[in-house]
Amino acid sequence: MDAASNGNQEKSNHIPKDMKGATEEQKTCLEILNLVLDDEASPEQREYFKKHLQNCMPYYEIFSVDKLIKEMVRNKCNCHPVPEDLVDSIKSKLSD
């Protein structure tokens, strides 16, 4: 069957970044990566991550890049200081 040779053979060394091209197992793994990244994983999912994904090179790479980008967003994208007069302006409007 064509379907058998289509995609599954690449499972071990190629992980599509997008869910559409992924097998069910890969989808689950990518979902768990996101849950761990966002600190939303259950203890079981966290355990699965530690056992199966943390030491698997392709997943490790995806996780490392995602984690770094998340940290950079947090550290580099909070750079618009509040105008000094804003709080006073709000408070004066409240007392009107």
Binding site: P16, K17, D18, M19, K20, G21, L30, E31, N34, D38, E40, E61, S64, V65, D66, L68, I69, K70, M72, V73, R74, N75, K76, C77, N78, C79, H80, P81, V82, P83, L86, V87, S89, I90, K93, L94
Partner: protein, 193 residues
């Protein structure tokens, strides 16, 4: 918010809630407003409107619940309902339409490209910030709420009025688009994938 019947606070209590629970979030609120509007005056107006509304409807805020999420929800709604109508921005972007577009096969092809950690490490803040700003507002919003402000999925679902499953898929999609943008910056910096 809708199901909560409301409290009766004294004037003094209202002022205390406002000062102690609402105002401490003004930095995050302004940063969010700026990243939605890209204009200092508009961001100021949006934050001011949000705080005035928060005070007016303070009795529907239950003390002890998440004030920051409550304020972000008001700001997001103000942006969609009031601000976008007034601004030059053309028709309101339809979430569903955007998601359908980005879920199409065409865009998936482009997203499967790789991005190496060395390339990201060499980026200074500007690339990340510009890449975030270049995303469509709905995708930009989920990244800001999750990665910048640290909201949990269930809080984001309430702020955005969408199911948790949609939060997760939109976030996943947003991250892929962000990576795609960063990958194109990486190519310009001379990194080969």
């Amino acid at each position: 918010m809708a199901e909560y019947k409301g409290k009766s606070y004294s004037k003094k209590q209202k002022e205390a809630i406002f000062d102690n629970e609402f105002l401490p979030h003004i930095n995050s609120m302004y940063n969010f407003a700026y990243r939605l509007t890209f204009d200092e005056d508009d961001a100021k107006d949006l934050v001011q409107d949000t705080y005035l509304k928060a005070f007016r409807f303070i009795e529907s805020f239950e003390q002890g619940t998440n004030a920051k999420a409550w304020l972000f929800r008001i700001l997001k709604n103000s942006f969609i309902n009031d601000f976008r109508k007034k601004s030059k921005e053309p028709a309101k972007v339809d979430y569903q339409e955007v998601e359908t577009y980005y879920n199409s096969d065409d865009i998936d092809q482009a997203i499967t490209t790789d991005l190496r950690i060395e390339a990201v490490q060499d980026m200074i803040g500007d690339e990340i910030s510009n890449a975030l700003n270049s995303l469509d507002v709905d995708f930009r919003t989920v990244i800001i709420l999750c990665d910048l402000e640290g909201f949990k999925y269930d809080e984001m679902a309430k702020i955005l009025d969408i199911p948790i499953g949609t939060v997760r898929s939109r976030l996943h999609r947003a991250r892929n688009l962000l990576k795609e943008k960063l990958r194109s910056y990486a190519s310009k910096m001379g990194y080969k994938n």
